[in-house]
């Protein structure tokens, strides 16, 4: 038994400051040649635990044992990523640690011993050998800034393997990948497993856990809950382990009532800075009292679509976004209006970017001051503070935002709480159109359901909700209709109640017009 264990974590505790206990007394085994999923809600300490293995953090107490040479476990102390590499541990972080202006080879060479670091030819050959062995595709001479997210991730993995990693840690690797890329990654992971490598994958996505891993270990609020064989696990049993209580996986969905045209988009076209059409002749209508889902592979024009409606994106002549006021019934053109004018008309946008703070929130300000972002123009010369303060308190209570105080900089909150603040504020403004992109990005199951509930409430109030999502299952369960974007073009609007995942998947990847052209 002992001999097939690659890494053993024993009674690991890590605290940040006095209050935050990220990991408490965690004991975990990683076997040789297995794929272990590390599952847990946001802030359950998965990444922290792995960072201690990768030498980013040092545990407050506890022991780490690593089998470095096949002769059994030895206690080690990992003080730096370099130590981790020497022990054969490599971690692929969510935010890639690559130098943009370097080629793939140069990035691998970076930090290597001087004796080989400048022998780029040899390194390129070695990279090729690794690629052939596991089925990677890496162009050694490609510069990182020319690479797609998937290519960068692949390079990170190759870099870790090149340095002799036997234990690979992947931190939410699929969050940034398309379904196809995810499949490719999983193939490679299986190849690495065959080769005897131990792989730890941190993820929220239960279907992926079931698909790829041999065993699943769960953390909850920093504490180790248990490990099960994937063969014995189901979505609901894993969810229960993760959240500690049964969560209904069904999302309530009422029939839209009394839906009226709210937003009529016609021939909407945007050109990005490279002169490529990011949005190409999009026409659709959004109704009040319904949730219109927007599906598409990331970068298919979702961001541009929402920004164009919100007045944050230049549009090409001929584009039209007509807004019908629910109270008066009069319609007005949004194109040509400023972001502020559009906002004041009741069109709210809550866009959750990858870094969560980049758009919509001010990291260094507290909840209270962030609430003010929408209302600070009230009052004469000086800002009015009482309203935002009350609102912040209300959002904090209603959405159970975990923060020491409403004046704590939101930068210090965990991702899920930041998103609650963002969505809570937009909803508090009582919009008539609520556009939200990636509202549950990186959120745990519980928080996600809170957000779905909020969106449904808005729908029932008669708000036209436009929901850009990544998870097809959620889109299918939550939306009334689903608009599918493909390469900046509108590839179809389907009824979410009758359509299938396969149909949407096909619409996301195959442009119908092209097929027609070809045929």
């Amino acid at each position: 038994m002992e001999n097939n264990i690659a890494v053993k974590l024993q009674n690991i505790t890590k605290t940040f400051g006095k209050q935050v206990v990220a990991n408490k007394d965690v004991t975990l085994d990683i076997r040789k040649g297995e794929i272990l999923s590390l599952l847990g809600e946001n802030g359950s300490g998965k990444t922290t635990l792995m960072n201690m293995l990768a030498g980013i953090y040092f545990p407050d107490s506890g022991h780490i044992f690593v089998d470095t040479d096949g002769n059994g476990l030895k206690e080690v102390s990992i003080c730096s990523p370099k130590d981790a590499y020497e022990l054969g541990i490599g971690m692929i972080h969510q935010h890639f640690k690559l130098v943009d202006v370097f080629t793939a080879t140069e990035n691998v060479a970076l930090g290597l011993d001087k004796s080989i670091a400048f022998n780029k030819k040899q390194i390129a050959l070695d990279i090729k050998a690794i690629c052939d062995r596991y089925g990677f595709k890496v162009d050694p001479d490609k510069k990182v800034y020319n690479m797609s997210v998937s290519e960068k991730q692949t390079l990170e993995i190759v870099k870790a393997l090149y340095r002799g990693a036997n234990i690979l840690i992947l931190d939410e690797p699929t969050a940034v990948l398309t379904p196809q890329e995810t499949d490719m990654l999983f193939d490679v992971m299986r190849n690495m497993k065959q080769d005897g490598k131990s792989i730890i994958i941190i993820t929220h996505k239960l279907n992926e856990v079931l698909e790829i891993s041999d065993r699943v270990s769960t953390l909850r609020k920093g504490e180790y809950v248990g490990t099960v064989d994937t063969a014995d696990a189901t979505v609901s049993s894993l969810t229960e382990m993760m959240v500690g209580q049964k969560v209904t996986l069904e999302i309530d969905r009422n029939e839209p009532v009394d839906s009226k045209e709210r937003l009529i988009v016609k021939n909407l076209t945007c050109v990005n800075k490279y002169g490529v059409k990011a949005l190409d002749d999009i026409s659709f209508t959004a109704y009040g009292g319904e949730i219109l889902g927007v599906a598409g592979i990331s970068g298919s024009g979702q961001k541009e679509l929402l920004e164009a409606i919100a007045g944050l994106q230049e549009t090409v002549d001929g584009s039209s976004v007509e807004y019908v006021d629910p109270n008066t019934g009069t319609s007005s053109q949004l194109i040509g209006k400023t972001a502020l004018q559009i906002k004041n008309m009741g069109v709210a946008l809550s866009f959750v970017p990858e870094d969560r703070l980049g758009m919509g929130l001010v990291g260094s300000m507290g909840m209270s001051d962030n609430m003010m972002l929408r209302s600070y123009r009230k009052g004469f010369v000086f800002t009015e503070r009482k309203g935002p303060k009350n609102l912040a308190q209300k959002v904090k209570d209603d959405l159970e935002v975990v923060t020491p105080s409403i004046s704590t900089p939101v930068r210090k909150l965990s991702g899920g709480n930041v998103q609650k603040v963002l969505v809570g504020r937009e909803i508090a403004a009582e919009p008539t159109v609520l556009m939200t992109a990636y509202a549950v990005r990186g959120l745990d199951v519980n928080t996600s359901y809170t957000i779905y509930g909020l969106l449904n409430q808005q729908k029932e109030k008669g708000v036209a909700v436009i929901y850009v999502g990544e998870d097809l299952d959620v889109l299918l369960a939550l939306s009334d209709r689903i608009l599918v974007l493909c390469d900046g073009k509108l590839n179809g609007i389907v009824d979410a109640r009758t359509t299938t995942k396969e149909e949407i998947g096909l619409l996301m990847t195959h442009l119908r017009e092209e097929e027609n052209d070809n045929g």
Binding site: G17, E86, L340
Partner: protein, 376 residues
């Protein structure tokens, strides 16, 4: 890989971020750092010149606040000069505050001071026959306008084409210095001296009038008004809020419907205008002349002031006072003990090093191996 030292010990010291710290504790750390700096300085001074360090510190205090004779009065000439210079530095730092808060690195205060000074001097020379109140309004208006204009160019370029404001404002300084040289030549008095000389030495037109018999009380009033005003502006006004948002995230500002370009230009104009006004304080309230040395590097020193104070205008008062005190004290000991300027700079450097270093201990704590021990 087999011969890797696998059983390493825990690192001796680990560094962890602090959550927060009670105010008194952070103040204590900062005070301790200054004490420690003085001790280190003392040791070095003793090693170099074998003078009792306490004597040296006493000279420093005397340099800034007057010699301790029997009839010592705190508000003597030297103290007032120290106050005057503190106010000057404070005024510039306050001017930099809005721009810095917006993450617009205005390092062109030197130039903005000079053009403000030129405008003031021009008013004093050409409009000296106006009634004093009117003359002062002209001087204030002209210096504000000159400083604002000097910052307009980098601001517009930044807003429209996202040019690098650091280089732009820096280069504007050299233009301002050349411009000053031109005006010095134009207003040369007496002829051939290559200086402007004291402007209006007899009628004292455009000089800050003494208040309650005190020459520099006016400086204090003017600068403190701006300091308080800026504090309120940044903290409580809508425009101040916009500055914070733009400084933190331009995307968020755009999203909230804030006109980012407008805020950049407006804030930079305010910043430049107040730096221009410091030129007015320098010329009308202190030197009563204009030269290429009117700014004298204070525009750069003020950057340190603004940063150390974390853009809090009230904290800037203390920091400005400290820097001016160090400067005066250093000059005093240099002359008294027949040392050169380097010793003075060295002492200033050591003290600043410790002050900056104390910020580390305020924000982080150190955990030593095995036992959990906080070090402050």
């Amino acid at each position: 890989m087999a011969n890797v030292a696998v059983h390493k010990r825990e690192p001796l010291v680990r560094i962890a971020k602090r959550d927060s710290m009670p105010l008194w504790q952070s103040i204590l750390i900062r005070v301790l750092s200054i004490v420690l700096a003085l001790v280190v300085c003392g040791v070095i001074i003793y090693m170099l010149i074998k003078v009792n360090p306490l004597e040296v510190y006493k000279s420093m205090v005397e340099g800034a606040f007057g010699a301790f004779k029997e009839d010592y009065k705190f508000f003597n000439r030297r103290t007032w000069i120290t106050i005057r210079d503190t106010m000057m530095l404070l005024c510039i730092a306050v001017g930099l505050a809005p721009a810095f808060k917006m993450r617009f690195w205005n390092i062109g205060a030197e130039g903005q001071i000079l053009v403000g000074g030129i405008a003031t001097a021009a008013c004093m020379i050409y409009l000296k026959n106006l009634p004093p109140v009117l003359l002062f309004i002209c001087m204030i208006g002209a210096s504000l306008l000159a400083g604002a204009l000097w910052s307009l160019l980098p601001a517009v370029f930044k807003a429209k084409w996202n040019t690098n404001e650091t280089l732009f404002t820096l280069m504007m300084n050299y233009v301002a210095i050349q411009l000053t040289s031109f005006f010095v030549a134009l207003w040369e008095n007496p002829f051939g001296s290559n200086t402007v000389g004291i402007i209006n030495p007899t009628g004292k037109e455009g000089w800050f009038p003494p208040i309650l018999g005190l020459d520099y009380l006016m400086n204090v009033i003017v600068v403190m008004t701006i300091t308080v005003g800026m504090f309120i502006y940044l903290k409580y006004s809508k425009q101040g809020y916009e500055i914070s948002v733009v400084g933190d995230s331009e995307n968020t500002a755009r999203y909230a419907g804030i006109n980012v370009k407008k805020v950049i230009i407006r804030t930079m104009l305010i910043s430049g205008a107040i730096c221009g006004l410091s030129g007015f304080v320098a010329v009308s309230g202190a030197s009563h002349t204009i030269s290429v040395n009117t700014a004298g590097g204070k525009g750069f020193t003020a950057i340190i002031v603004a940063w150390l104070a974390k853009f809090n205008t009230f904290t800037m008062i203390l920091i400005s006072l400290l820097l001016v005190f160090l400067d005066k004290g250093a000059i005093e000991i240099a002359s008294k003990y027949d040392l050169n300027d380097y010793v003075a700079s060295m002492i200033t450097g050591i003290i600043l090093f410790f002050i900056l270093g104390s910020e580390f201990f305020v924000n982080y704590r150190m955990i030593f191996r095995s036992k959990e021990k906080e070090v402050q």
